[in-house]
Symmetry: C2
Subunit: 291 residues, 2 copies
């Protein structure tokens, strides 16, 4: 990508997770060397990487990346040694947040909360144009905000009733299944888009489940707003495809729950960049790395 | 106060709230002029003020201060014109957070959450040594994080079931009153210290009410930790006088609810400076004002 954010070349390689993913850094490096000609490579100012896991506060190490089978992977050092180019690491949700700020739904804003509603619930917080990574690489881990509930939903993190167990695609489907079971009703197929579709067709139970989903999510996001007080909330991830059917009631719920001084002074926007958000954000972070 | 934080002179004047508190700035200025001799006053590097209300993002105006009857008070300009000394304004909870960082329970830390549990619930967040004031002067307004509950407690902010309605002195007393009423029990006097005392004497109902209090507060603070991931939580305000009887179970609850990577890596401390925290923090902010 050039410094204005125009992608010059885009490619992907398979992820080799054998032997605890130890070949991945080397395969990234050799793929870079074979894809970009040596002369061009010499002019590359930096490499930004959005990693599916937390980054140590010093920015050097991937603390853990479950899907890559990494623990304490010194990715920055390995790639810098292999390629001789400065590497900037950041968490993928944080990268997406920066990407949406630079080229997406939050252009011109410096303070935002990015939320992914996918299989899980992820978050990235940007304050004064900089990612809030946190003292233990857990800044923006909003999917694990505990929700007070009579239910007892086990979360992947080991906790109970984390926001993610209610406000993710999986959480939404579980809520719908439970509601259907109570009414002794069943649907031939159950996916988030089907739930939104049924609700749009005025299916009472689907509407109730979505209202509860929005209430839980809206309340949690309002609590975050009352804590960090940013100017924009960007919603990405698969569930954001529902568009206004999700975002409008979500903003209403947030308006209901936020502190009076914030009311009507923030926006809730659909993410614009999809999977490319992280690409833009990683490059942005690299360009803005303190030298 | 000198630049090392030694208080050289301390005094107070009555607060004159007549005519929407319009005399207060002038009375502060004349009190400064009559208390500090002119020659000394010339050598004063700055004035820091912790204000009981939100400060505009540009740091110039008190947006509102209910107890002083102020709305949009340009306090910085007024006092700078009157005294010819640079004035730094900050919210009182934010000032207390900085004070505890500089001279109190969080010395040596740069990232902390300060919580006051008094009549209400206030908060101040410090990240990288700087106050998070927020885009709408509402950073750290954690007392107004909505709590999911079957109850319907009206908050002073106009919201329902804000954290403050459960986790303040008033909220605790309301919970105790409700619990006693249900059991058709009554106490001759009901104050937070009496509730803590009864619980220490193994009074079942007092213990249950405090357990619920701690659960609600601990869950909310854990949610904040999962959002901003700071290294220390400092608890001040009247209820913090309960000391370990409050702080130990609170830390346990937080440990139960925080994200795994934060668990066992943060501390919960009692504030050390009491009402003086804001004095230290206001001076700290003045000394560290970007020039």
């Amino acid at each position: 990508m050039d410094q204005q954010g125009i992608i010059e070349k885009k490619w992907s390689i398979p992820t080799n997770i054998s032997e605890k993913g130890k070949y991945i850094p080397g395969e990234i490096a050799s793929s870079v060397r074979t894809t970009i000609e040596p002369q061009k490579l010499q002019s590359v100012a930096g490499i930004g990487i959005g990693v599916p896991g937390p980054i140590s506060p010093d920015g050097k190490t991937v603390v853990q990346a479950v899907n890559l089978d990494w623990t304490q992977m010194p990715l920055k050092e390995i790639l810098e040694n292999e390629l001789g180019i400065e590497v900037t690491l950041l968490n993928d949700a944080n990268a997406a947040a920066l990407g949406e700020m630079w080229k997406g739904a939050a252009q011109g804003k410096a303070d935002l909360l990015f939320v992914t509603l996918g299989t899980g619930v992820g978050g990235g917080i940007v304050l004064n144009g900089e990612v809030l990574n946190g003292c233990h690489s857990s800044g923006g881990e909003i999917g694990h905000i505990p929700v007070r509930s009579e239910e007892n939903r086990l979360c992947g993190c080991g906790g109970r009733n984390c926001l993610e167990t209610f406000a993710s695609a999986n959480g939404l489907m579980l809520s719908m299944k439970k509601a259907l079971l109570l009414k002794e009703e069943s649907w031939p197929e159950l996916t988030p888009p089907i739930i939104f579709e049924k609700a749009a067709e005025n299916h009472q139970l689907a509407k109730e489940v979505l209202a509860e989903f929005t209430d839980i999510l809206g309340q949690a996001l309002a609590g975050i707003m009352n804590t960090i007080d940013v100017e924009e909330v960007v919603i990405g991830g698969g569930l954001s495809e529902a568009g206004d059917q999700l975002l409008k009631p979500l903003q209403e719920k947030m308006e209901q729950y936020v502190f009076p001084q914030i009311k009507e002074h923030f926006t809730v926007e659909k993410a614009l960049l999809g999977n490319e958000a992280g690409i833009y954000g990683a490059v942005y972070a690299s360009l803005n790395e303190p030298k």
